[in-house]
C-alpha cells in the first residue's frame, strides 16, 4: 500500500474543507472494505485518507412516520440489519444488507459506503431504489437532497462533486400496506457479489422493480412497472414483464456470469419476485 497521510476530522465542516482543498488526492475512509482493497491493489492511490468515523451525529438510525427512516453515513450494514426499526418497517432492507459480504465485512462496511461506492452490484441499491430513498449531501454550498435514482452516473461513479460528502440516506415512510423482496443470484450462497439482484415492492396495487448488476448502475425498471399497472398477474403478464425488464438493462459477460445467463436470470427473478410480493410463493 502506497504511503498517505491519515486525517481524522471531527466535524462535517472540517471534512468538507479537507475534501475541497485536496480534491482527487483525497479519499474518504468509512468502513474501508472497498477502499483498503483498492489501495492494496493500487487501483486508487490517495495522498490523503480522510477517516469520517470521528464525526459526531452521523452514526445513528432514526425513524418517524413523518420523516421516514434516516441512516447515518457511518452506520454499518450489521447495524442496519440488526435494527428492530428496520426489521419492523423495512424488512427488505434488513435482508438485502445481510447479503453483502460476510459477517466480518458487514461489521465494517456501511450502507452509505455501499451506495457511494456506486458498484452496479451494490446489494442495498435495488431495495433503496424501489423505496425511493433520498441521499443527503453536504458541501461547501450547503445541504441538498437528491433521489437515489439520480445519484448513480456510471460504473463506480456517483454525482458527488469536489468537497461533497453524503451524510445520510433517507427512506420515506410508506403509508399503505406493502410487501417487498430482494432476490440475489450469486455463484454461491454467501460472500459473493450479485450476478443479478432484483428488488420488487408492492404498495397497495403498485409494483415497483429495481435491478442490480445488469447495467452500468443499479436501475429502476419504470417501463416494466408501467406495463404491470392495473393488470391482473397471470402467466402471460409475467412473461411480458420479464421480457420488458430485459429492455431496460444492458447486462454484460464477466467473471461472474455470461450475458446470456444474466438475461435468463433477470426473467426468472423478476417473475419470482412479483409472485412473492403478490403472495403467491410457488414460483
Amino acid at each position: 500500500m502506497k504511503k498517505f497521510e491519515y486525517l481524522k476530522p471531527d466535524s462535517i465542516k472540517e471534512t468538507i474543507s479537507i475534501l475541497s482543498q485536496f480534491g482527487e488526492k483525497a479519499q474518504i475512509l468509512n468502513g474501508g472494505t472497498d477502499l483498503i482493497v483498492e489501495m492494496r491493489d493500487k487501483v486508487v492511490q490517495p495522498e490523503y485518507v480522510v477517516d469520517i468515523k470521528a464525526i459526531p451525529g452521523i452514526d445513528k438510525i432514526t425513524y418517524s412516520e413523518q420523516d421516514g427512516l434516516h441512516i447515518g453515513a457511518t452506520v454499518t450494514l450489521n447495524e442496519v440489519s440488526d435494527s428492530k426499526i428496520v426489521q419492523e418497517h423495512y424488512p427488505i432492507l434488513a435482508e438485502a444488507c445481510k447479503t453483502v459480504g460476510s459477517y466480518q465485512v458487514r461489521n465494517r462496511a456501511t450502507l452509505v459506503g455501499n451506495i457511494c461506492n456506486a458498484s452496479p452490484a451494490a446489494d442495498t441499491a435495488p431495495p433503496l431504489l424501489v423505496l425511493e430513498a433520498k441521499v443527503n449531501i453536504v458541501g461547501s454550498d450547503g445541504e441538498k437532497t437528491i433521489l437515489l435514482n439520480q445519484f448513480f452516473v456510471g460504473v463506480k461513479k456517483n454525482i458527488l462533486k469536489r468537497g461533497e460528502i453524503v451524510t445520510s440516506v433517507t427512506v420515506p415512510h410508506v403509508e399503505d400496506e406493502w410487501t417487498g423482496v430482494y432476490l440475489k443470484q450469486g455463484r454461491r450462497k454467501d460472500v459473493d457479489l450479485a450476478t443479478v439482484g432484483v428488488a420488487v415492492v408492492c404498495i397497495r396495487d403498485e409494483i415497483r422493480i429495481a435491478l442490480g448488476a445488469v447495467a452500468p448502475t443499479p436501475v429502476r425498471a419504470f417501463k416494466t412497472e408501467a406495463l404491470l399497472r392495473g393488470k391482473t398477474i397471470d402467466e402471460s403478464i409475467l412473461e411480458k414483464a420479464g421480457k420488458s425488464a430485459l429492455t431496460e438493462v444492458s447486462p454484460i459477460s464477466d467473471v461472474r456470469s455470461s450475458q446470456e445467463y444474466r438475461e435468463e436470470i433477470i426473467k426468472v427473478l423478476v417473475r419470482r419476485a412479483i409472485l412473492q410480493v403478490k403472495g403467491v410463493c410457488n414460483a
Binding site: M1, I36, V37, R40, Y103, V105, K189, V191
Partner: protein
C-alpha cells in the same frame, strides 16, 4: 508520518507508533509478533485474519492499524489464560476440527464472537456466522459440530 495510537490488546494496554498505510493485520504480525491471524486473501473473502475489535469480528486485513486507536482487540493469542484453553479451542481439538490449521484462528475468533452474542445458536446460525471463514481442507462439518458442542454445554467463555 507515524501516528501514535493507544489500544488494549489481549487485555494489555499498548501504545505504539504506526505508519497509516499499515493494516491492522500487518501490525499484529510484524510489530507485535502475534502471528495467529493469517493473511489468506487480503481482501475480506477468506476470514483467516479475523480478530475481535470491541468484541465484534472483523477482517484485520481490511482495517488500518491507525483505526484501532482507543479500541479493544482480542486475537487468538488472548483466548487462553496461559494454562487453560478457551472452551472453543478445547472443542475444536475434541472434534478434530483442525486439519492444516491455517483457517483455525479465524474460525475460532468468529465462533467466539458468535457465542458471545448468541450462546445458543442453531446450526443454520453457526453456518451464517462462519460464512466469511473459508476452510480449504473442507473440514466444515467438524468445525460446525465443535461450535455447536460448546453451545450445548452452555456457550460460556
Amino acid at each position: 508520518m507515524k501516528h501514535k495510537i493507544c489500544f488494549t490488546i489481549n487485555r494489555e494496554v499498548k501504545e505504539v507508533e504506526v505508519e497509516p498505510n499499515k493494516t491492522l493485520l500487518k501490525m499484529l504480525r510484524e510489530d507485535l509478533d502475534l502471528i495467529g491471524a493469517k493473511e489468506g486473501c487480503g481482501a475480506g473473502e477468506c476470514g483467516a485474519c479475523t480478530v475481535l475489535v470491541d468484541n465484534e469480528p472483523v477482517n484485520s486485513c481490511l482495517m488500518l492499524a491507525v483505526e484501532v486507536d482507543e479500541k479493544e482487540i482480542l486475537t487468538i493469542e488472548g483466548l487462553s489464560d496461559g494454562i487453560n484453553l478457551d472452551s472453543i479451542q478445547e472443542s475444536f481439538l475434541k472434534h478434530n476440527a483442525i486439519q492444516c490449521g491455517y483457517c483455525t484462528p479465524g474460525m475460532v475468533m468468529s465462533a467466539k464472537a458468535l457465542l458471545s452474542r448468541n450462546p445458543h445458536p442453531t446450526e443454520e446460525v453457526v453456518k451464517e456466522a462462519l460464512a466469511g471463514n473459508l476452510c480449504r481442507c473442507t473440514g466444515y462439518q467438524r468445525i460446525i459440530n465443535a461450535v455447536l458442542d460448546v453451545a450445548k454445554k452452555g456457550g460460556k467463555k
